[in-house]
Every structure is written in structure tokens, then in C-alpha cells.
């Protein structure tokens, strides 16, 4: 079909989203897309989520570091609704996640250049002493996620008196 004339095409906004979880979490694009739509539907209802769109255009997640980012397409004028819906994503496939909209742009390229790829994703494992016990931790950009018996604890290098390097 012939595409629409420019004044009839919908206008979009692109939300750059930062995602964080514990190390080892595996989150893929499909799972994140599903959660976006569920969150939209639960908060905005079917008509609201249909109008907001909330489709994931780009997705990247580093399982080692437990951080990732995504680009979400939203209809112009629905960015606040989309923000609210994204804030309600608390877990993906049973893995707790933190979600934050880091910026909004009118074009994909501007969103990529301004808001994506700013966070360090390099991580490494170190041994730390947490709660008087030696533990393995994943260190990324001063953040230290300590592996406990059945869970993780979120710490930073300030929690250790000695220099981690």
C-alpha cells in the first residue's frame, strides 16, 4: 500500500530506558517487550496502551554486569503515560529489575547519541569480605554486587575499607 502523506503519519517520541538487575540475570528483548506491554495494559488499560504504543526498537543487556538499555517507541503526547507504565516494571521473568527513563528524543538517532551507551558495562569478579565472610562479588563502575547464599546484596566500594583494586 502506498504510504501515508507526511501530515497523516503518527509522530513518535523515543524513550531511552536504563535497565538494571542482579548479575547472572538473563533478560532478552522479547521478555522486556512483553513486560512493557503488560505494564502498559495494567496501568493504562487496553485503549491507553494501544495509543501509547510502547514498542521496543533496540535492546541490549549484559548478563555479566546485570545492566542494559533499550529504546522504546511511544506516540507523541503519551510520554508521561509511558514513563508511568515503565516505572511499574518490577521484574522480568521473575528477576527483579530497576527501570529508569534516562531521556526522550524526537528521533532515534538523537536518542542513541544523547542517552544510550553512556553506562560502563565492563564488569569483573573480585573477592570481598561482606558480613564477616569472604564472598565473590561482581564489580562494575564502583558498584559491587555481592553473591550471598541464595541472593545478592547491593553495595559499593565505600562499603569496604580497603581498596578493591
Amino acid at each position: 500500500m502506498k504510504h501515508l502523506p507526511k501530515h497523516l503519519r503518527p509522530r513518535w517520541r523515543y524513550l531511552a530506558v536504563e535497565i538494571e538487575s542482579w548479575p547472572d540475570a538473563s533478560i532478552d528483548r522479547r521478555a522486556f517487550q512483553r513486560e512493557c506491554w503488560y505494564a502498559g495494559q495494567n496501568l493504562l488499560g487496553d485503549p491507553g496502551s494501544a495509543r501509547a504504543e510502547l514498542s521496543v526498537l533496540q535492546f541490549e543487556f549484559s548478563a555479566d554486569a546485570g545492566v542494559g538499555e533499550a529504546l522504546v517507541k511511544v506516540r507523541h503526547g503519551w510520554t508521561d503515560e509511558a514513563r508511568a507504565a515503565l516505572a511499574c516494571i518490577d521484574e522480568i521473568d521473575g528477576q527483579p529489575v530497576g527501570v529508569r527513563v534516562s531521556g526522550i528524543s524526537g528521533t532515534i538517532r538523537a536518542a542513541e547519541e544523547k542517552y544510550l551507551g553512556r553506562r560502563g558495562q565492563d564488569s569483573e569478579e573480585r573477592n570481598v569480605v561482606f558480613g564477616n565472610e569472604e564472598r565473590v562479588a561482581v564489580v562494575r563502575d564502583e558498584s559491587v554486587d555481592v553473591r550471598l547464599d541464595a541472593a545478592f546484596a547491593g553495595t559499593t566500594d565505600l562499603d569496604y575499607d580497603y581498596d578493591l583494586a
Binding site: 527513563v101 558498584s143 565505600l158 562499603d159
Partner: protein, 234 residues
């Protein structure tokens, strides 16, 4: 804007990690409100300097009965900047709003708790703030979430009518549960609380910390009483 957090061992992330993440989310401060039996050891000044955020020492009193809560409020009032009392039963809600030493009545609408005009008037008189706890909206689903939203709207109607003081929090227990102020404001808008209402509630934590610090500082004598310029230090 400030966020009131539960840090390790009451939560999963340490004060430092919560402060670091909150600073990245453009919060101006965090209030550490661990429960009395799960206190965190931390150096508020060092963490604050490192991440450029105000770290406020507080406590949440989660007692079984009013006598116990009353004792705890008296014990901690002199040392802690902010005291919150976990509500949720008619007796605890009433105790908190009638006690001017309490700063915040946390989660007044959870479980069997409820708020009415009598409590609202008492809260206005004693300067006790009602907490709008958004954690249930952020982290539950289905029918439970519907009821939580209903209870928040009821509380909003009462607070609005009596112009009662209030605070807003997402009550994070880890850095993953933190949400940025703008995201919380957008969520408030969807719940019918308006974004300026949510922002004012997040700012109230900071105002409260500033006021209590001034009152607890050594230079404060009594309300309205100041050391004059003619007074000489001996």
C-alpha cells in the same frame, strides 16, 4: 527531592549503594529508615560527600503495640533526625497522629489500617505526615493493586480536604526498587494524585530533615528564642 529507603540488613542494598543510585536518579537526599531491630551501620557524611547527596539518619518503628511504640519513640527521638511509625492498625495509626514526636505515619492504609477525618485533624494539629506509599502500585498486580490504588485515593481526598501534611515514597528496599522522581510523578498523574502533589511529597522529606536538624542542633534553644548579638560567649 528525597526518597526514604530501607537499607541492608532491612533491605538488600547498603546505604552507600542506595545513595549512589539515588544520586544518579537526581534525588537530592535519602532518608535511611531501617526498622529498630535491623539497623544499618554507616557513615552518613562520608557517603554523602562521595556521591553528592544528603544522607539523613532515621528510623522506622514497627511495634506490636502502642506501649512498645511509645517507648521506642522516646528512646530514638534525641538521636534520629526522622522518626517514622509503621501504621496499619487503628491503634497504631491513632497513636502516631496523636504524638507530636512522630514525624511520619508510614503506610497508614495497609492491612487493617484506615484513615478518617478524626485522624486527619489530629495529624494536622501534631504535624504528623501521612505517607503515600507507592510500593504497592509499583510492585503488586491485579486485584490487590486495585485496592491499594483505591486506598491511596481515599487518603488523598482526606489529606486534600484538611490540608494535612504528607510525604510520598516508593519505599525501596534495594537499589533496583528505586524509581526516579520524574517517573514517580508521572505515575502519580495516572493514579489521579497529580505530579505536583507527588513532587511536593518527595520534597517534604527534605524539609522535615532540615527542620529537625535545626531543632536538634545545639544552637537551638526554644521556639522563638534566639541568642542575641549582645550576648558574649564565655
Amino acid at each position: 527531592m528525597y526518597e526514604a529507603v530501607h537499607a541492608h540488613p532491612d533491605g538488600q542494598s547498603t546505604v552507600a549503594r542506595l545513595a549512589k543510585t539515588a544520586a544518579e536518579f537526581s534525588f537530592e537526599g535519602v532518608v535511611v529508615r531501617n526498622r529498630a531491630d535491623e539497623r544499618a551501620e554507616f557513615d552518613a557524611e562520608r557517603i554523602g560527600d562521595e556521591y553528592g547527596i544528603d544522607v539523613v539518619e532515621g528510623i522506622e518503628i514497627d511495634a506490636d503495640d502502642v506501649e512498645q511504640a511509645s517507648g521506642a519513640v522516646g528512646n530514638y527521638r534525641t538521636d534520629e533526625t526522622i522518626i517514622t511509625v509503621a501504621g496499619g492498625t487503628p491503634a497504631m495509626n491513632r497513636f502516631a497522629v496523636e504524638n507530636e514526636k512522630v514525624d511520619v505515619l508510614a503506610r497508614p492504609m495497609t492491612a487493617g489500617g484506615d484513615v478518617n477525618h478524626v485522624l486527619a485533624k489530629a495529624a494536622v494539629e501534631n504535624g504528623v505526615r501521612f505517607e503515600f506509599d507507592l510500593s504497592g502500585v509499583l510492585r503488586t498486580h491485579g486485584g490487590r493493586r486495585v485496592r491499594i490504588i483505591q486506598s491511596l485515593r481515599k487518603l488523598a481526598d482526606i489529606v486534600d480536604h484538611y490540608d494535612a501534611p504528607y510525604v510520598v515514597s516508593a519505599s525501596p528496599q534495594s537499589h533496583l526498587e528505586l524509581r526516579a522522581p520524574r517517573d514517580l510523578a508521572a505515575l502519580g498523574e495516572q493514579l489521579g494524585l497529580s505530579s505536583s502533589f507527588v513532587e511536593a511529597g518527595l520534597e517534604e522529606w527534605g524539609r522535615m530533615a532540615e527542620r529537625n536538624r535545626r531543632i536538634q542542633s545545639e544552637s537551638f534553644i526554644e521556639p522563638g528564642v534566639e541568642r542575641g548579638r549582645y550576648e558574649e560567649e564565655h
